[in-house]
């Protein structure tokens, strides 16, 4: 018990528990986590858990196995926080969040998002299928389709080089200058900041267009080649 306490740290967050992993082999940490869950059953029962894995690299099957094991014990893994881009990508593939609402102490020193993101962007080179959610505190470019039931949420702008039929949300942190552009957004649900629009309820033409916010309302302009 003492041993497992030193391997993992558990903190309360506004929307769940944050489990920070210490410095040890993953097998030991995993065992320590399971031990904590077994011994403090009622504390963990039904809890939403975010896992801070530091710089560790996780593969998809490892994370999905962990998520399944936890869910069998009534614990819902909703986020994996990591410094490793590979692990972040893995977590996003599985539809897990990669950020938690309350920033970790060492992150509070970072500049606010508006200053950080002009340079930060995420490159997604595959079609996002139903049930996938991609979230990023910067811009997102999708080289592929966004299928119905998939969600793209960016604090910056979103470009979809393909057909978007799911939810595309730009300026999720409140940036009103964010835009959504894409080759075919006619069947997407578009949100910028807190405003939302359904292009399909308009003419719904399949042509490249840009959506932007003007006086709190989403407007669109078609892309002209000349």
């Amino acid at each position: 018990m003492n041993d497992s306490n030193s391997l993992i740290q558990i903190k309360g967050l506004r929307d769940g528990l944050l489990v920070a992993l210490g410095d040890a082999a993953w097998d030991d940490l995993r065992a320590a986590l399971m031990e904590q869950i077994e011994s403090r059953g009622s504390f963990f029962q039904g809890a939403r858990v975010a896992l801070d894995v530091g710089g560790r690299v996780f593969r998809v099957n490892e994370l999905s196995e962990l998520r399944d094991t936890l869910s069998e014990r009534g614990v819902n893994l909703w986020a994996v926080v990591s410094e490793s881009p590979t692990t972040e990508k893995t977590a996003q593939l599985l539809g897990l969040a990669t950020r938690v609402s309350k920033p970790r102490p060492q992150e509070t020193a970072l500049p606010p998002a508006e200053e950080a993101y002009p340079n930060a962007s995420m490159w997604v080179t595959r079609t996002l299928r139903s049930g996938t959610r991609v979230e990023f505190p910067g811009h997102i470019t999708v080289l592929g389709d966004v299928n119905p039931g998939a969600e793209v949420v960016a604090e910056g702008s979103v470009l979809v080089w393909g057909r978007a039929r799911g939810l595309v949300h730009a300026g999720a942190g409140g940036d009103e200058a964010a835009v959504v552009c894409g080759l075919d957004l006619s069947a997407a649900q578009i949100r910028i900041g807190s405003a939302s629009a359904l292009p399909s309820e308009g003419r719904g033409e399949a042509r490249p267009a840009k959506y932007f916010l003007e006086d709190g309302i989403i407007k669109s302009e078609a892309w002209q080649s000349n």
Binding site: V60, N61, S64, D68, L93, L94, T127, L128, R129, S130, G131, T132, D145, N147, P148, G149, R165
Partner: protein, 264 residues
């Protein structure tokens, strides 16, 4: 050489997973292959009924996994085809009676006994589905040309990709060419446009399938059945043969053909 393990899944219920498993198994076995089907829908078993083997069940898949019988004892031999076997699901248990590693162990043992293992997945994306895909070498996703079924298929394809199961192949089931012509039904192209995976077969809507299901006699045994022919073609494609897709437009009644002529 060991058997190939093929799982058929869909996300949505009622699109034809069980029918497809029964028909592909019959089609493969009719060409002389040794085939075992596993019903993965523990608690809601159906495959035994569709294959007409319901009253022969003594042991089931959970009995094998929990060691109450040997694998061979739970393999029910088909009445018509000597090398076709069914391992039925338990009806009085639920999905939690089996784990993904149980399925991997079971299939490992089966690989030495047969040439093909076909697994009938339950609907949904939870435990039963995870069990069914755990041991699969190949996954076939089956869907109907309906928006809701295609949406669920897309979700399943996404999960399979995330689990690094490799790209699944697609079966479009119950396509009605006349309705597609009237633009009342999604076409195969509409479905493929969204799912963007390899197509392995299109099965036309055929009343004979329901009759065959109720009689426990899969249509792949009927030489004249259109749906049966489509399933036989899929089976041959599974074996690696290059089979051209059926021309679905050649059927239809006189009026369909006349109105088609008139439109040209």
């Amino acid at each position: 050489m060991g058997a190939q393990v093929v799982t058929i899944t869909s996300g949505k219920g009622g699109v034809g997973k069980t029918t497809a498993v029964a028909n592909l198994a019959v089609a493969l076995a009719a060409e002389g292959a040794r085939v075992a089907c596993i019903d993965g829908d523990i608690g809601l078993r159906n495959l035994d009924v569709v294959m007409g083997l319901e009253n022969r069940i003594v042991y089931d898949v959970v009995d094998v996994i929990e060691g109450r019988c040997r694998l061979r004892q739970a393999m029910i031999r088909d009445k018509r085809l000597p090398e076709l076997y069914l391992i039925p699901a338990a009806q009085t248990r639920d999905k939690s009676a089996v784990s993904p590693s149980d399925m991997i162990r079971l299939c490992k043992e089966l690989r030495n006994e047969v040439d093909w293992v076909l697994i009938d997945s339950p609907a949904g994306i939870e435990r039963g589905f995870k069990n069914s895909i755990a041991a699969a070498d190949r996954v076939l996703v089956i869907t109907n040309p309906e928006v809701s079924a295609v949406r669920d298929a897309d979700r399943v394809v996404g999960i399979l990709e995330a689990e690094e199961k490799g790209a699944p192949a697609l079966i479009i089931n119950r396509l009605n060419p006349a309705m597609v012509r009237q633009r009342d039904m999604l076409s195969a192209d509409d479905v493929l446009d969204l799912l963007a995976i390899q197509l392995i077969g299109i099965v036309p809507e055929d009343d004979g399938v329901v009759v065959g299901t109720n009689r426990g006699s899969p249509v792949a045994m009927e030489p004249k059945s259109r749906a049966g022919q489509a399933f036989r073609n899929i089976a041959r494609r599974l074996r690696g043969e290059d089979v051209p897709f059926m021309n679905l437009d050649s059927g239809g009644n006189l009026w369909d053909r006349l109105s088609k002529l008139g439109r040209k």
